[in-house]
């Protein structure tokens, strides 16, 4: 397990380096001066502009810029955000926890929901419950994130104002609430964005988990378990579920970027001040240091997610532990 972790950590470094390179290449491949627009407003004197360019090394040869860029990424120095007027690291530090809360909640809920649905479906395979819930899940699975978000917003914030429309907490009152009040406030704000992601994600998980369960149900050892005299329930929960979890965990690892992508859109719809909102606004404002940093942090999160998936997968499947 330790070897697995070490290998994955080394792999993660490679991945992040490649992502940093790709982002650098993208920015420098794009037409025009990458940092031009931010400096181009007529109010900035040429001298100042030259000074800024020098400060960010934009006057150097591309190769040197690249080395500096990789070097600063390696040091964790992510630069200065033009649009936020603060260090990129600070902007990330305030956004990241919100994203983690949103994604973490959605992930936990959807794993629980998705697996529960799949177990129910697999247990009643072919029944009305199975087919009905499969159809419903497919519809959720097929919905654009923003559309589902908009519909939930329309229903539960507009027409039936149970939940707040945006943000992480009540902007004004939160600071003046008690501990319980704050908790409730957070949960209320979290509800709709987390629900949106959860519905989409649990639909995906349930679909895969159901297929995995049915696959396992065909496996020889499931027959062995039945031949031992186990009840269908015990076979499903003790043998089939545990085995199929492996593929679901792997799937979650692979789905992590998509989940992050979904979070970007959901955060935008619900004005959730996380990495996604940060990235979209940074991109809209051509704040390249911030854009690059969000891409890199996104990659780090993805890699971390896949490492976690690997570790969990190895916990669920001893074969992977020795691999």
């Amino acid at each position: 397990m330790r070897r697995l972790l070490a290998a994955r950590a080394a792999q993660a470094v490679v991945v992040v380096a490649v992502v940093a390179t790709v982002v650098f290449a993208l920015i420098h491949l794009a037409p025009g001066d990458p940092f031009g627009a931010a400096l181009e407003s007529g109010r900035v004197s040429p001298e100042v502009r030259a000074e800024w360019r020098a400060r960010y090394g934009l006057d150097r040869p591309l190769a040197e810029q690249y080395v500096r860029w990789i070097g600063s990424v390696a040091r964790g120095d992510l630069g200065w955000s033009f649009s936020r007027n603060r260090p990129v690291a600070g902007a990330l530090a305030s956004a990241l926890p919100n994203t983690l809360v949103l994604m973490g909640t959605a992930l936990l809920l959807s794993i629980a929901l998705g697996i529960a649905a799949a177990v129910l479906q697999a247990a009643r395979r072919g029944s009305l419950v199975d087919r009905g819930s499969s159809a419903l899940l497919l519809v959720f699975y097929s919905m654009p994130e923003f559309w589902l978000g908009l519909m939930l917003l329309l229903a539960f914030a507009y027409e039936l104002p149970i939940f707040p429309v945006s943000g992480v907490v009540d902007p004004v009152m939160h600071e003046y609430m008690g501990t319980w009040g704050r908790f409730v406030d957070r949960v209320r704000h979290l509800a709709l964005p987390a629900l949106t992601l959860t519905l989409l994600l649990s639909a995906a998980i349930a679909r895969h988990q159901r297929a995995a369960l049915l696959d396992v149900a065909r496996a020889d050892f499931t027959r062995t378990a039945r031949a031992k005299g186990l009840s269908p329930r015990a076979v499903l929960l003790r043998h089939a579920l545990r085995n199929s979890l492996g593929t679901t965990i792997t799937l979650l690892g692979l789905m992590f970027p998509a989940l992050l992508g979904g979070a970007v859109i959901v955060e935008t719809v619900f004005a959730w001040p996380g990495m996604g909102s940060l990235a979209t606004s940074a991109i809209a404002q051509r704040d390249y240091p911030l854009v690059s940093a969000t891409a890199i942090v996104g990659a780090v999160m993805t890699v971390a997610g896949s490492v976690i998936a690997d570790v969990l997968g190895a916990t669920a499947d001893p074969r992977l532990r020795d691999a």
């Binding site: 070897r3 290998a7 080394a10 792999q11 490679v14």
Partner: protein, 368 residues
């Protein structure tokens, strides 16, 4: 190795063949050790004869067969095909040479392209080597199908529409299409039912007779091997531990491993009372083979002692030149320092910690 029947040159001659697969670890896939799948194997196959390579799963027999055809790259050793150094060939001459040496696989289903009809599969060799095209190729495909016992109209079938035996016949027809001189038969009948197995075994024998083919017949089933082989080589953990003409090997197996192997084969005769040698434990991992004689940890030879763990036994002649027919004059070679006669003299053995002198040990005499 064998200088019998002066003037007959081996068609295939393999010397000190080794195939090691690296065990990869870490991010960059650095090799950390190797699986010694084949570790110093030598043998000859003469025109028109069948050499059987026998052993249990994982002993390296399939890898050996593939390495001879350069379908896996050998780590060391030489492979001569009709005098040509196969390992030294560049891509194009190798491609050309493949016309002369073919392979038939164990699993007739996975070795056929599911998306190609029987006809296309058989025809492919003709196309590749530009042996025939158009109507002529069609005619040759039909002839080949008939020759292996299929109906010509089955050319338009797909593999999944055929039975196991029929598929294996297609595999054989594919190999025959390019008119090879040598075929590696890699467990060609072990996936088949008994009744079908007999059909395919007979077919292979008929083809050998009609076309003068040489076979390297890889198998784990000693009873099938006895029926097809002129000579038999027994492999264990990547090495040949005994080789002899068929009759000699089955009559008087000298390597303790061969003895155990032979004794373990169930005999379809309820009245046969035989002494069975049941080996303890499992085959060790080829990534960490035992020192000395690789078989020594499981050996039942009464003279087994510390020297067995120290001395790598040479594959040396132990009996008189025997054999009849195609294998006439082939020697009986065994890798065991405890089975006299041996070139590893007493002094050497004692120096390696031997406590027992070699002694003739024949617990399974006359399986025949």
């Amino acid at each position: 190795m064998s200088e019998r029947a002066a003037g007959v040159r081996p068609l295939v001659s393999v010397r000190d063949l080794a195939v090691h697969f690296p065990v990869k670890k870490g991010v960059l896939g650095r090799a950390k050790g190797a699986v010694r799948a084949v570790d110093g194997v030598s043998f000859d196959v003469f025109p028109g004869e069948t050499l059987a390579l026998v052993g249990e799963s994982g002993c390296g027999k399939t890898t050996t067969g593939r390495a001879v055809l350069r379908l896996v790259e050998a780590t060391a050793g030489t492979i001569l095909f009709d005098g040509t150094d196969v390992r030294a060939l560049k891509a194009e001459p190798l491609r050309k040479l493949r016309r002369q040496m073919q392979i038939v696989f164990q699993d007739p289903f996975s070795s056929l392209n599911p998306r190609m009809t029987v006809g296309a599969t058989v025809r492919e060799g003709l196309v590749i080597h530009e042996l025939a095209e158009g109507a002529e190729a069609d005619a040759r495909v039909r002839r080949l199908l008939e020759e292996v016992g299929l109906r010509p109209d089955q050319a338009s079938r797909y593999p999944h529409e055929l039975s196991g035996g029929q598929r294996q016949r297609v595999g054989i027809a594919r190999a025959l299409a390019v008119e090879p001189r040598f075929i590696v038969c890699d467990e060609p009948v072990s996936a088949l039912d008994v009744s079908v197995q007999a059909q395919v075994v007979n077919l292979l024998q008929d083809l050998q007779r009609d076309r003068g083919l040489a076979y390297l017949f890889i198998a784990h089933d000693l009873s099938v091997v006895q029926h097809v082989a002129d000579r038999v080589a027994v492999m264990y953990l990547g090495r040949i531990v005994e080789t002899a003409p068929g009759e000699a090997l089955y009559d008087e197996p000298l390597m303790p491993y061969t003895q155990a192997l032979l004794s373990a084969v169930p005999v379809p005769d309820p009245d046969a009372k035989r002494q069975r040698i049941v080996l303890s434990g499992d085959v060790p991992s080829p990534a960490a083979p035992p020192s000395g004689c690789v078989f020594h940890p499981r050996c039942h030879h009464p003279a087994r002692d510390a020297a067995c763990a120290r001395i790598v036994p040479p594959l040396e002649p132990k009996g008189e030149m025997s054999g009849s027919g195609k294998s006439a004059g082939a020697p009986h070679l065994v890798a065991c320092i405890k089975q006299p006669p041996t070139t590893v003299d007493d002094a050497t053995q004692r120096a390696a910690g031997a406590t027992h002198p070699p002694q003739r040990y024949l617990p399974v005499v006359g399986a025949r």
